[in-house]
């Protein structure tokens, strides 16, 4: 924490007023930016609560005159994504069905991998880690075409298991990195002591490392969940009607050209799509930020 409240004591009165003015200016600037960041969310929420009529005649940032949940109902169960008009509900559950297993599997594998890379080093372990790490950074466009063909060959093209598979594979680099960076801070002597005590590879992992891992599990789960829930590229490339995740469905609703443009429904659908990750952010923001910074700062 840096504290710059101390200034040389010349003309105390003047600096005091200057400081108060500066302080107000500071809060003003911060407030303006807070409005900038909040405005889209505010507009989304208010728009979703307005009727189409009110949207057409009213003001973008005005509060709704008559609050109505019609748009939410339509968005949840009636909005059209192309031909089908079931709302985002089925796609919301698709996203859940994709995200939950994919997060669980990639986190578990990441924990085991990180444990190996950090504490059971063998010849070549460094190279393997570097290769996995680099895998985090490739633009996924280079794997889209062969993956589409492979999923076809495996018979899971356009299915939810196919999407789970894809998310696990391309999440491994990050989950391994997270756990590895966490486990290297655990002293090697702990592993040695457990070996002398007679514990083996899995026993040490289960009895000693896993009980220590709660913070990094939370970080990893949040990171993976956010990534997978918000994914669009894999969703749009590897799904078909009926298995699409919510991001794809939302995009289809917003860009469907049939009928009247229902902005309030679009906004309600967008909020529904955003709710799970927003909720995670609000509940566990600390871990969310830790994941973000861990994923970017530590190489």
């Amino acid at each position: 924490m840096t504290d710059f409240s101390m200034t040389p004591a010349h003309s105390r009165q003047q600096t005091r007023w200057g400081k108060i003015a500066l302080r107000w200016l500071l809060y003003l600037i911060l407030g303006v930016f807070a409005v900038y960041y909040l405005m889209p969310l505010f507009v989304m929420v208010t728009t979703s609560l307005k009727s189409l009529e009110e949207i057409r005649t009213g003001n973008l940032v005005a509060l709704p005159r008559d609050v109505t949940l019609d748009a939410w109902k339509t968005a949840w169960s009636g909005a059209c994504t192309g031909i089908q008009c079931d709302g985002v509900r089925p796609y919301f559950w698709n996203s859940v069905l994709i995200a939950v297993p994919a997060v669980a599997i990639s986190t578990l594998l990441g924990a085991l991998n990180g444990y190996v890379v950090a504490h059971w080093r063998f010849r070549g372990a460094n190279v393997i880690f570097a290769l996995m790490l680099f895998g985090c950074f490739i633009p996924f466009q280079v794997v889209l075409l062969p993956m589409a063909r492979l999923l076809g060959l495996m018979g899971i093209a356009g299915t939810i298991p196919g999407l789970i598979f894809v998310h696990v594979i391309y999440g491994l680099g990050f989950t391994t990195l997270f756990f590895r960076n966490y486990y290297v801070t655990i002293p090697a002597e702990l592993t040695k002591a457990a070996k002398v005590d007679g514990a083996g590879f899995l026993r040490i992992f289960w009895s000693i490392f896993l009980p220590l891992s709660l913070p990094i599990i939370v970080v990893t789960v949040i990171w993976q969940f956010t990534q997978i829930w918000n994914d669009f590229l894999f969703g749009v490339s590897f799904s078909q009607a009926g298995t699409q995740p919510i991001t794809v469905a939302l995009n289809n609703i917003v860009n469907s050209t049939t009928g009247v443009k229902e902005y309030n429904v679009d906004m309600a659908a967008a909020i529904i799509a955003a709710l799970p990750t927003l909720l995670v952010y609000v509940v566990a923001g600390k871990y969310f930020i830790r994941g973000l910074t861990a994923g970017s700062v530590k190489g």
């Binding site: 002293p187 002597e189 702990l190 040695k192 002591a193 457990a194 070996k195 002398v196 005590d197 007679g198 514990a199 083996g200 026993r203 009895s207 000693i208 009980p211 220590l212």
Partner: protein
């Protein structure tokens, strides 16, 4: 009886780097072996090799007469205490101590009785439900010892177990470890960089440097007859004075000539013909330079020396002079009247000196 630990021609490489070179050590049941040396000398690696935590690249290793060269740590019948104590942070003290037994499938009743015995022995009964994070350094140390004791192994291994403690506690725990060793009659291997720990605890010391054993011997052998300049310098505090000198041997004995600043050289006569080369390094412990008649000496040779610095240290007073171009420390009585800038008459005990070859550093007498 076979040695409890027998290491033959052990080598250890990391890639092309030789960490340990041709290590040969053996100890008997009840021995307290201390591996001592500066950091990076390979002593901890050697201990890890004994524990089986590091594979060895060559040679063999027997514990209790059995070949353990390729046996995993858990089957070597050893217990180990680590520098950081390596207590399992999520387990209580009791679970830390019984974890090994649990892994081995020892029944609960035996676990409980052994735990109780060890806890009593180390006076940690009140701590059993705590987590390591709630313990002080000294308490953690005891728990780590408890985890080793409860195994009742053939061989105890200690990896710098006292180096994380503050100075006072370190001395206390040192005494406790020694007492424990005497009471149990157990065999121990102990790594430290602290030569006082080595001297006080060991029945046998191995001094290492650069992955090579410099000398193996009892504390008194190591202290009184260091095998080379490195051991001479490393063991003892204040360190042994190592003074370049000229030697001339004949039937009457050996004349040792030490150059001095601003005055004629000191000439000392060793009564024995040592067959020394002309250039030697004379090794004298500070306590072997004292006031004339202060200590019983086999062959005291007196000389006047100009005192540079006087350092009272409570029980003794150290006096620093310059001889042969080196600072030389003498250990005098606390009440000495030595004064900086004045000459002081000192007696050199030539019965206890060591001679080293300046080029190879090896002991000559």
């Amino acid at each position: 009886m076979a040695p409890i630990l027998d290491i033959k021609n052990l080598t250890k490489n990391y890639g092309s780097v030789e960490i340990l070179k041709d290590i040969n050590v053996a100890i008997d049941q009840g021995d307290f072996l201390v591996l001592v040396g500066p950091s990076g000398c390979g002593k901890s690696t050697l201990l890890n090799c004994i524990a089986g935590l590091e594979p060895i690249s060559g040679g063999s290793l027997h514990i209790g007469g059995q070949d353990m060269t390729d046996v995993s740590p858990k089957d070597r019948d050893i217990a180990m205490v680590f520098q950081s104590y390596a207590l399992y942070p999520t387990m209580s003290v009791a679970k830390n101590i019984t974890f090994g037994m649990k892994v081995r499938g020892v029944d609960a009743a035996t676990q409980a009785s052994k735990l109780a015995t060890v806890a009593k022995q180390l006076q940690i009964e009140k701590l059993l439900d705590r987590r390591p994070g709630q313990l002080s350094g000294g308490q953690r140390q005891r728990v780590a010892m408890g985890r080793a004791l409860v195994r009742d192994p053939k061989l105890f291994l200690f990896d710098e177990p006292l180096s994380n403690l503050d100075a006072k506690l370190r001395v206390e725990m040192r005494t406790e470890i020694k007492e424990l060793h005497q009471r149990l009659g157990a065999s121990m291997v102990y790594v430290t960089h602290d030569q006082i720990e080595a001297m006080t605890l060991a029945t046998k010391i191995v001094v290492m440097k650069g992955g090579v054993i410099q000398q193996v011997g009892t504390p008194s052998e190591i202290y009184n007859r260091p095998a080379n300049l490195f051991v001479a310098d490393f063991m003892g505090n204040p360190a042994m004075n190592l003074i370049p000198a000229k030697a001339r041997s004949d039937a009457a004995g050996t004349r040792i000539e030490i150059a001095r600043r601003d005055s004629a050289p000191i000439v000392l006569t060793d009564s024995q013909n040592r067959n020394l080369p002309e250039d030697v390094v004379l090794g004298v412990r500070p306590e072997d330079i004292a006031e004339p008649g202060a200590r019983a000496a086999a062959n005291a040779q007196e000389a006047d020396c100009l005192v540079d610095i006087v350092e009272p240290a409570g029980a003794d007073t150290y006096v620093v002079m310059q001889l042969g171009g080196k600072h030389v420390t003498a250990r005098l009585h606390a009440e000495t009247d030595a004064t900086p800038g004045k000459a002081q008459r000192l007696a050199f005990d030539l019965g206890k000196v060591s001679y080293f070859a300046p080029d190879t550093g090896q002991r000559l007498n």
